[in-house]
């Protein structure tokens, strides 16, 4: 007889894997075709993973809430725990994608790898990010912050901060001070 814990684990992993696989497939389509609809589909699927996925999983787990399906009963606390486990899996996937698309240290390693394993330090700075340099690094970061609504780009000037941007910056600054983090990115 399958334990409820094992069943929950399987359902969480299957749901997360299926949605992640669909997202990766959509990204492959987007990168290959460069069509706006492909990028929108990929973004929709990523959003679905975070929003619709937990609802779908809750419904799926609910089929086993009374023990009539295959003799397995999943108690309420285990259903709730499974949603949190799914959430943890989503966080790991999202963060992994973030690191693989904008990881500062990873990019330095890749630049070195593609240059035969060695570079002069001044060349490493200039060639960072496939030749885009620190300028490209900051441009990408500021562009993302603008898309997230944290600041406004005004031509060649960055800023001003939106109220949400001020809040995020304030909290970040306060937490860095609380933890005495002085050497930061």
């Amino acid at each position: 007889m399958i334990e409820p814990v094992f069943l929950c684990w399987v359902l969480v992993v299957l749901t997360l894997s299926a949605l992640a696989a669909l997202h990766v497939k959509a990204l492959a389509w987007a990168l290959g075709s460069d069509k706006p609809i492909a990028y929108r589909t990929a973004a929709f699927l990523e959003g679905s993973m975070l929003v619709a996925g937990p609802w779908f999983l809750w419904g799926l787990l609910g089929l086993f809430s009374d023990g009539r399906a295959v003799g397995i009963r999943i108690p309420l606390h285990l259903r709730v725990g499974s949603i949190f486990l799914y959430g943890a899996g989503c966080l790991v996937y999202v963060e992994l994608r973030s690191l693989l698309s904008r990881g500062y240290s990873f990019r330095i390693l890749l630049d070195l790898l593609k240059s035969g394993g060695e570079l002069a330090k001044k060349d490493l700075i200039v060639r960072y990010g496939n030749g885009r340099g620190l300028r490209g690094l900051l441009a990408k970061r500021l562009g993302s912050l603008a898309r997230l609504g944290l600041l406004r780009m005004e031509g060649p000037r960055a800023g001003s901060l939106t109220p949400i941007g001020r809040g995020a910056a304030g909290i970040g600054w306060a937490m860095r001070r609380l933890l005495r983090l002085t050497s930061v990115g």
């Binding site: 725990g81 990881g103 060649p156 960055a158 983090l181 930061v184």
Partner: protein
């Protein structure tokens, strides 16, 4: 759903965060110390499981619920912490806030970042982790750094992620 599970989770998270803040304030360091933070997270989870086990015969399903809820909050905090410790975006935001929140010239921002020690610090950290070595003004990959670079490149291809940095 009984309150004991939420109390266990809250107790464990509180212990984790309290130890984290006390240690980081009493022993500041340039190193993000992710291994130590992971150790503190395990202590917190242990506290959660211990409290969840009090009073009744430990039930696997109940303990798993506590563990999974704990795992979510701890992983969430790890990502927040990674941003605090190393995020260039957050550094840009804080810089703008401390400049009064007004627009700043992009080229001036690039110039200031290039003159700062942040790139040097990143190189130093990677050297300390054994990923690169630095000799006479040049930087090279160690064996471990090459393996990690290949793994990142491969994983990026599998997940269709373009590493732009």
């Amino acid at each position: 759903m009984d309150n004991g599970i939420w109390i266990s989770v809250l107790a464990g998270i509180t212990v984790f965060l309290a130890l984290h803040v006390i240690l980081w304030r009493s022993m500041p360091s340039d190193n993000p110390r992710m291994v130590l933070l992971s150790g503190l997270a395990l202590v917190g989870m242990g506290v959660s499981l211990g409290i969840a086990s009090i009073g009744a015969r430990p039930d696997a399903a109940r303990l798993c619920s506590v563990l999974w809820i704990d795992a979510f909050w701890i992983i969430l905090y790890f990502f927040v912490y990674a941003g605090l410790a190393r995020s260039v975006s957050l550094t840009c935001l804080v810089h703008m806030l401390r400049s009064g929140g007004d627009p700043v010239d992009f080229e001036a921002l690039v110039d200031e970042y290039a003159r700062s020690s942040r790139f040097e610090e990143r190189i130093r950290l990677m050297r300390a982790r054994g990923l690169i070595r630095q000799t006479n003004g040049s930087v090279s990959l160690t064996r471990g750094g090459r393996r990690l670079a290949l793994a990142v490149d491969g994983l990026g291809h599998v997940l269709n992620a373009r590493l732009e940095g």
